[in-house]
């Protein structure tokens, strides 16, 4: 009994941290309608800054709390700077750009943090004056955690007062409900938004600094916490503070007791909980329907260009590529093999984004599932390569079949969050299920059959399979199936009223895209000879998005060019520096800043301004 009580209390302490971080995320979302991927970065840097300050001044209670407060304020200032430098330019962009742009910040911050504090995990000193524990029903419980438990409701109360008893808070609430109206009333939205980012990021920094006495400060805590905060915000209802509090409590308890029952799959439980909540209560526990983000069209609405003589060009390209082994060396062939694989991966994502308007933020799940499918077949069943390769799209397709059923129930940002959640589920299974997947160590020794072992032979095999799959995807895009998918994107209302079951087409597209990505993953596993959980992780999903974005959404050939450019950039430029995250992050940020309305929007903007000049 007392054991359960202590477990519940430690769940409450976890909930307090979760609430601090997710309250900031939900406030920022409520006003700016941007889901700030970089929110976890402020939590992480807050923890690092807090660690440094506490090391220096944390000897006394006043020094400790002063250090925590200073770290939080510093994060607030950084957040305001990000609003002015980046977010301000993204408010009218499609959500894909907002998520990507802030993810670019995540990458940049990761490298800068590693540069400033080094790659080692840091252990902070305990909170001065709160080092001991007290006995609760004969079980010891850390005093500091008790303070944290009290802090959650305290912050909720303070925020309530701020939003309901001050003029600034009233303006923020007004802006949350109607941005245009508020600015029409003479409120400077720019200053309001900067203030909101200050508050939100300060809360994230506070959460981070408060973690210093509890756990090690690491470079991985940013993505880990932001994904958890996404879950809290989505479960609670996007933009709802009380909802975030409630969801934090529930998820804190779920984690505290989940670890007792299913120690291997605590992460899975949390994400499944979110998926179930979203299916039962589409707007979250306390979210309201009208708080649904107004989804800016993620894609362009010009006809997909069919391209003149596309078939001729494709055959010519294929012939040139097939001849490559005659002149290219081994290294170039490896690179080309990877480009071809990634082209299929990017094209499969393009099917969802370009045709369906469905921005998936977890497409790596299916790529990785295909890779793991092949590797597991080889490792545990001694399958020959052809069988293992055939298993890749099947496993990925089945995974997408299950996940897709949930995901296509929602659109826009919620769809992005759901796909991210499922990718994290798959990732955490690969990461935590040591006995089968080898966890962190991955699976090694996944080599092609003897007949395909040569670099040229494997390249040809890859070219044939990916080329075939790409051709099928292209046929599907111009066949009634692809048109029905576009019909659902252009006008769901009209599509339903002429007999098109939009969800069913989206679900089918999800499975098709998943299977295609799975085939790419299987080929990748044999190309590399090994698989690791990173194949399923968020950065891999982002890579695919960047490839699609670079190539442009308006053509079926775009993702292929995007994959080639991106991979060459990655392997040739970024391998020359240790700071590849920094470089990639800056590229992403530049990409979304230069093309805030999408590449096609940029081009048509150019065309119209060009036309004006000539007229």
């Amino acid at each position: 009994m007392s054991f359960l009580l202590v477990q519940a209390l430690s769940g409450l302490a976890t909930a307090a941290t979760l609430f601090l971080v997710s309250s900031g995320l939900t406030i920022v979302f409520g006003v700016t309608r941007i889901v700030n991927f970089a929110h976890g970065s402020f939590y992480m840097v807050g923890a690092y800054a807090g660690w440094s300050l506490i090391e220096r001044f944390g000897g006394t209670p006043a020094g400790f709390w002063g250090s925590v407060a200073a770290a939080a304020l510093a994060m607030g200032v950084l957040g305001a700077a990000m609003e002015i430098g980046l977010l301000r330019r993204l408010y009218r962009s499609p959500e894909l750009f907002q998520l990507l742009g802030t993810f670019g910040v995540v990458l940049v911050v990761q490298d800068l943090t590693a540069w400033a504090w080094g790659p080692e995990d840091l252990l902070g000193r305990r909170a001065s004056g709160l080092k001991g524990s007290i006995d609760i029903l004969d079980q010891p419980f850390p005093l500091y955690d008790l303070v944290l438990i009290g802090l959650g409701p305290l912050v909720l109360g303070l925020l309530w007062l701020l939003f309901n008893r001050t003029r600034w808070g009233t303006l923020v609430r007004a802006a949350t409900q109607d941005r245009e109206m508020t600015s029409a009333l003479g409120v400077d939205p720019a200053r309001l938004f900067t203030g909101v980012l200050f508050l939100g990021c300060a809360l994230a920094g506070l959460g981070g600094a408060l973690q210093v006495p509890r756990e090690a400060v690491t470079l991985q805590m940013d993505v880990a916490i932001v994904v958890e905060a996404f879950v809290v915000v989505v479960v609670g209802g996007m933009g709802s503070l009380t909802g975030a509090f409630l969801a934090s409590l529930l998820i804190g308890q779920l984690q505290a007791f989940g670890i007792l029952v299913f120690p291997q799959i605590t992460l899975v439980i949390v994400f499944l909980f979110m998926a179930v909540v979203l299916v039962l209560r589409p707007h979250g526990l306390l979210g309201r329907a009208e708080e649904m983000p107004p989804t800016a069209p993620a894609t362009v609405t010009v006809p997909l260009s069919r391209g003149r003589h596309a078939g001729v060009w494709a055959l010519a390209l294929l012939a040139v590529m097939a001849a490559a082994p005659l002149v290219a060396g081994d290294y170039a062939l490896i690179l080309l093999t990877e480009v071809v694989i990634l082209a299929l991966f990017a094209a499969s994502l393009h099917l969802l984004i370009g045709l369906g308007g469905l921005v998936s933020f977890g497409h790596a799940a299916w790529f990785g599932l295909g890779a793991y499918g092949s590797a597991l077949l080889v490792k545990h069943m001694d399958a020959p390569m052809p069988l293992a390769l055939a298993g890749a799209p099947v496993l990925a397709g089945l995974g997408a079949l299950v996940a897709g059923w949930f995901c296509v129930r929602r659109s826009g940002l919620y769809f992005a969050m759901l796909t991210l959640a499922f990718a994290q589920i798959v990732w955490s299974i690969a990461f935590q299920w040591y006995a089968v997947t080898g966890g962190d160590n991955g699976i090694l020794g996944v080599w092609p059959s003897a007949w395909a072992a040569g670099k040229a032979a494997y390249y040809w095999l890859t070219l044939a399979l990916c080329g075939g799959a790409l051709w099928l995807l292209r046929r599907a895009a111009f066949a009634p199936f692809g048109y029905a998918l576009r019909a659902g994107r252009d006008s769901g209302l009209r599509a339903e009223s002429v007999g098109i079951d939009v969800r069913r087409f989206q679900w089918m597209a999800f499975v098709l895209a998943g299977a295609a990505a799975g085939l790419a993953g299987g080929l990748y596993a044999f190309a590399k000879g090994s698989v690791f959980p990173t194949l399923l992780a968020v950065p891999q999903s982002v890579d695919a998005l960047v490839m699609v974005l670079m190539g442009g959404i308006q053509t079926v050939a775009g993702p292929l060019a995007g994959a080639a450019v991106f991979h060459l950039l990655e392997s040739e430029v970024m391998s020359m520096t240790d700071w590849w995250r920094l470089v990639l992050g800056l590229i992403i940020v530049a990409l979304v800043l230069v093309f805030p309305k999408g590449i096609v929007g940029f081009l048509s903007g150019l065309r119209s301004s060009f036309g004006r000049r000539r007229a």
């Binding site: 362009v300 609405t301 010009v302 006809p303 997909l304 099928l472 046929r475 599907a476 111009f478 066949a479 009634p480 199936f481 692809g482 048109y483 029905a484 576009r486 019909a487 994107r489 252009d490 006008s491 209302l493 009209r494 599509a495 339903e496 009223s497 002429v498 007999g499 098109i500 079951d501 087409f505 089918m508």
Partner: protein
């Protein structure tokens, strides 16, 4: 002979009753106008009929088949076509492709993964576009059309499914006067030619009284008058709540 029987349809939003006990019958050959001041519940009524909204109570029977509770696409498959007040077409496709989509859907060929969609049902689509006077613009993207032209594409899309009942929510809104009359004349012709049953809402009184075979008047969610255009025009209740100052 098709018969759409609407019986005691009710729907509230929060505490506000948008449609309160509406009953009427729509038969082949009818060109039935549903009129009423803004906020009378016309669009809600339409959304209840085609399944976009679910009524709190009441029934809608198409030749004896209950439509309440069916999703829009099922109701469409039973032969109830619809055009929208705010135009809704597939903006990224050409005019012809918009109509082709409906024909493909009708023929249950949407799940095709192989043959290009643009080559299927093109001739019948062009014939339909010719009927509404849009054949010349068949290969323009729908997203760049003038508003009145989009309305005509919508009509072609609705006709493509060979409906027996057609619901038209403000079919001529945003059109120039000459265009309005042409579109209403075309609709009246289709009613005679194909034995369609058409229910339409309209703000333009010339369109209503010039073409409708019968008129329903809705006020604050209730039907207050029903009859021939002349009867309705002469009805004192209609004059007081609807025509107001003009009477």
């Amino acid at each position: 002979m098709t018969e759409l029987v609407v019986h005691d349809l009710q729907r509230s939003f929060g505490g506000v009753q948008a449609v309160g006990g509406v009953s009427f019958t729509l038969r082949s050959g009818d060109l039935l106008a549903l009129i009423g001041p803004n906020g009378a519940g016309k669009s809600t009524c339409f959304n209840l009929l085609n399944g976009q909204l679910r009524p709190d109570s009441g029934s809608v029977r198409l030749d004896g088949t209950e439509l309440v509770g069916l999703p829009p696409r099922r109701i469409w498959a039973l032969g109830v076509g619809r055009t929208f007040q705010i135009t809704a077409t597939f903006a990224s496709m050409t005019v012809a492709e918009n109509v082709q989509m409906v024909l493909l859907s009708r023929a249950r060929r949407l799940f095709g993964l192989w043959r290009p969609a643009a080559t299927q049902f093109r001739e019948p689509a062009l014939a339909l576009l010719d009927r509404v006077g849009m054949a010349a613009q068949a290969d323009r993207p729908c997203g760049v059309l003038a508003y009145g032209d989009v309305k005509r594409v919508e009509l072609a899309m609705a006709l493509a499914s060979e409906p027996t009942v057609l619901l038209m929510d403000e079919p001529t809104a945003g059109m120039a006067p000459a265009e309005r009359l042409a579109l209403m004349a075309l609709t009246a012709e289709l009613v005679r030619e194909r034995g369609l049953a058409v229910l339409f809402t309209e703000h333009d009184m010339d369109a209503v009284f010039g073409h409708a075979t019968r008129v329903l008047v809705l006020d604050r969610g209730r039907l207050i008058a029903e009859g021939s255009p002349d009867q309705v025009r002469a009805d004192p209740r209609v004059q007081s709540v609807y025509l107001g100052g003009e009477a």
